[in-house]
Symmetry: C2
Subunit: 668 residues, 2 copies
Amino acid sequence: MKTLTTSALTGAGCLLLGALALTNCQKSALSNDSAISADGEAAKKVYVAPGKHDEYYAYLSGGFNGQVDVYGLPSGRLLKVIPVFSQNPENGYGYNEETKPMLQTSFGQIPWDDLHHPKLSRTNGKPDGRWLFVNGNNTPRIARVDLSTFETAEIIEIPNSAGQHCSPYPTDNNEYVVAGTRFAVPIATDGSGIQDVPLDTYKDKFRASLSFIKVNKESGEMDIDFQILVPGFDFDLANGGKGPSADWMFFTSYNTEKAGTLKEIGASQNDKDYLAAINWKKAAEYARQGKAREIPANYYHNRMDEKTHTAVSTQMKSVRVLLPEDCPGMMYLIPVPKSPHGVDVDPTGENIVVSGKLAAVIPVHSYTKMLEAIKNKSFDKDINGIPVLKYESVLAGEVQKPGLGPLHTEFDNKGNAYTSMFVSSEVVKWNVKSREVLDRIPVYYSIGHLMIPGGDTQNPDGKYLLAMNKITKDRYLPTGPELAQTAQLIDISGDKMKMLLDFPTFGEPHYAQAIKADVVSKNSKKFYRLDENKHPHATTKEADARVERKGNQVHVYMTAIRSHLAPDNIEGIQVGDEVYFHVTNLEQDWDVPHGFAVMGNQNAELLVMPGQTRTLKWVPTKSGVTPFYCTDFCSALHQEMQGYARVSPKGTNTPIKFWLGEKKKPAI
Amino acid sequence: MKTLTTSALTGAGCLLLGALALTNCQKSALSNDSAISADGEAAKKVYVAPGKHDEYYAYLSGGFNGQVDVYGLPSGRLLKVIPVFSQNPENGYGYNEETKPMLQTSFGQIPWDDLHHPKLSRTNGKPDGRWLFVNGNNTPRIARVDLSTFETAEIIEIPNSAGQHCSPYPTDNNEYVVAGTRFAVPIATDGSGIQDVPLDTYKDKFRASLSFIKVNKESGEMDIDFQILVPGFDFDLANGGKGPSADWMFFTSYNTEKAGTLKEIGASQNDKDYLAAINWKKAAEYARQGKAREIPANYYHNRMDEKTHTAVSTQMKSVRVLLPEDCPGMMYLIPVPKSPHGVDVDPTGENIVVSGKLAAVIPVHSYTKMLEAIKNKSFDKDINGIPVLKYESVLAGEVQKPGLGPLHTEFDNKGNAYTSMFVSSEVVKWNVKSREVLDRIPVYYSIGHLMIPGGDTQNPDGKYLLAMNKITKDRYLPTGPELAQTAQLIDISGDKMKMLLDFPTFGEPHYAQAIKADVVSKNSKKFYRLDENKHPHATTKEADARVERKGNQVHVYMTAIRSHLAPDNIEGIQVGDEVYFHVTNLEQDWDVPHGFAVMGNQNAELLVMPGQTRTLKWVPTKSGVTPFYCTDFCSALHQEMQGYARVSPKGTNTPIKFWLGEKKKPAI
């Protein structure tokens, strides 16, 4: 069994980064042993005995898998994968007719995205366990997951944007969820969208947009209220003010140099980049007052209808746009160390921590000082009519020698902050008031985000911290060139951090949220009521099961119940027909799904929950008897839950015929 | 926190099954507490401290997710998901150009399957850690996963078949891997495939095939040597003989009644169904002697070329078929209790355990007695020329009162057998020689397969048993109507079984294999050598990065290295072009993949391992500047690893132009 060596760490965790020294990193490696809690003690802390439940739900983004991965903490067990932006062969999401419209965009149906940041909905600045908002970083989209069903309820495309990295950050009561452009693009102000212009016009023509999405208090439904067109920087991360600063939203930006090529070098030329501070209440007021121009925009808003369990995709036609130069007092730029990544506001709402990936210190800006600086017009200059505040006039102070490559900060309930250090592969604990470093613990390797349950809200927990690391290398048994990413659970209840557990993650968790289990579990739905099933093709009684031909479409109205499908024998289908199996699961109990698949179908399967109807499309390419069956082992006679479709050559015109069992006569 | 109650168990684990009593089931629930090992002790047994490695690799089938899920034991951590039969948005398998051919079948490209049984390759009856064979139960296919890379190396379609459930069972030295038809279908004997006949001709015209796939000793490459056309039963599970019985392969079959509809009732009429015993050595001899007829067959054989890392799909034209009536001594039928599921041969090769899902006893057949019965022609009758042996003449004895709903049996290294009981939700331990029940432990809920590392081979382990359960219900925090399946790790090292750990599984694990870690890890590949990259579109030096137009195809020869893509600015692309990004990862270190995605692409992403080339196809639907970027956080300047493609309207005919950084002049 391999053990860690300093040289392994130097190669992996401490990625070369220009001229930065690796001293801290090497120190971390050496201090490893002392930081790990005694095995027996750690084992007991993370062990959840058979039949017992985890204490927290943790929602980790799946990154390039486009999904949300639900883990239990402290066990680190993967409880569920929720497909959001990507097709999911396991349950047919994105393959079945009901969910295909969820993936509709102005580019067509997009079967994949890069899901970065999960954010729980909030009531009075505290996670309320109702919804989870997530962003699609590739084709700009924001989605809402319903935490009573753990299913994707809504996806809204963001026009006038490219990439959505600083998304979807909520305000204290979800008045808005914000979404910002990561890749500056030439956005036309006349509503003609992203332009086809020479790439060397970057400095002049490329710009970014910050979108403010309203959330309905009752239903959670989203709607783009307005966008602010801003300079063409790369907007990276965001965070909402809290309590006193609750009306403000903060965004980091990099490449204020506006380098259009080789950004690796070009985007790190200036000593300072900017934090954008936006007073969203003022912005909303401006929009109400008619300062927003309504311009044409082509984007899709996709919602899962609660009664039919079928997604409805609506093409949207316009969006309201604000320009900062028209709206004084709405937006300011605050200098921050070059190439910043995370911005994190502490639970009091006063301290705004900005992590510059290439910076040697962590600046903490003061909300109070910001207001004063605005009042005193302590400006350096303005950019496109946006005042730039003086760095020192906003700065509360700097955390000295925190480590190398600070990325993200979260907070505990005792006034401490925890910052992830990508380059030196460690988590650094410091006091928010004194900005003194109190403790550090090595993580393996190259940590990105970290997460404390509630640690991004007004009500942080103080028990666990989750480190999400970018490099895995030798942490687990090797699995060839492709490895899982990895998380580490750290006990932060005492003065010193203690390492408890390593667990591999599914996809790349860019961020996570966690919440005490009962806040969510008390509302968890167990199954869908059959008498509430309003799917247009539902078959709620086996006696109504039937097959109907409409031109070249064949609709199979099928029921599934332990242990048979009805009908289970079908004749009269022809090669090239569009066959739609509308399968209704008649069960009315928790955890009795039925699956459905057809041999040789150029599609995935259906996984149908009790009381639900799902539709699988099949276009047979070959004549011959073709079996179908239940794919989810549902009972002792599951293997017998199978049937046949007879496919005849095109043009045979044999009549439709179907039956179930000897007791029923063949029906036509 | 919920606790288990007898009523919860009755509702869930003890699914109603005709008139079977639930007494055992209820008894199990009550004995639960005493069976669970003390928490602290169990915690220590399953805890793998940060930086330490698991003791075993466990390969669990993903069932309806079409993947193999690699877990570490005893921790129960999901180390990796290997896509096999299904598209995988996470790494682009089935979406990128190199792997699309892996999913080719005679029905077209099939993006999904139902993966049931993983089986490790063997040397002298012992798992050798080289390959993992798996079956696609929906569109009949067998795949081979290479355990040096943990990637799917080969998929072969099985003609003349429908469903492949009793697959892919290997012989002691992988001379053959077998694959049997689950859904009887009207197979033509003239090579015209599966026929278009009325479904009520089931009894006369439907039949099954058992395929014998040769495995190349050096490369692992598969090839269908011959098929045996057998009566139209549903062939369910298989198992190879061992040691003395190594020349034989055993298959269970159900629906020997040949009910074509409502099999739930129709397939359980007869008191006995059959175990098929096939002497594969004799069959191979018959095939060699010319008894096999070569008939036309249309199927695909897809292989990942080791040098180009590109799948090659070959259309096959014929297959050799044997008929049992032509081959005396090759095949026998042995009566077994009705509706059998698993057949499992003990490590000595003498005892053949058959589990009848509806049976009250577990019969153990004797290999020695079978040979004697054959010699003595102790036959009941024959079916299609296949002799049916007398039940009693083959029977060694029966395990009495084992529990309800026996499904599968595995063995330890001390002469004990462990049988899963679906209906009474328990694992029952019994002595193979005495057939006496020694111990029982409840499992939650409704166990399907169970697995002991090596427990299906000549060399079983005696430490752990993994129960794979079909119903989850309240075992974990609720996640809405759709729940993960669940596994339970049981300590079998002592006289009494002890429950150690519950962990959710990904997809539905129909079966699993496990192996001591070092047997596999010693051969694990860390990255691909760039100087061995023979991909036809590889770009192994950044200086060779370029863009070429060929008609309406645009080929981008791109390199990726921390932290830039080359080229990173491209002009001259038009709406409707077929753009192929051939991305080569220039890194030469472990665990430095780069990802690649394009905004608005109707495709997934690429995940490119060091030294490898992967190709993403993009057909732009909109004009405008379109960003692309690295999707896998690779370095501190990962966010800067991005570029732009300018898309102009169709017919613009602007010349191709591309560049990287200021240092390079735009090239045409």
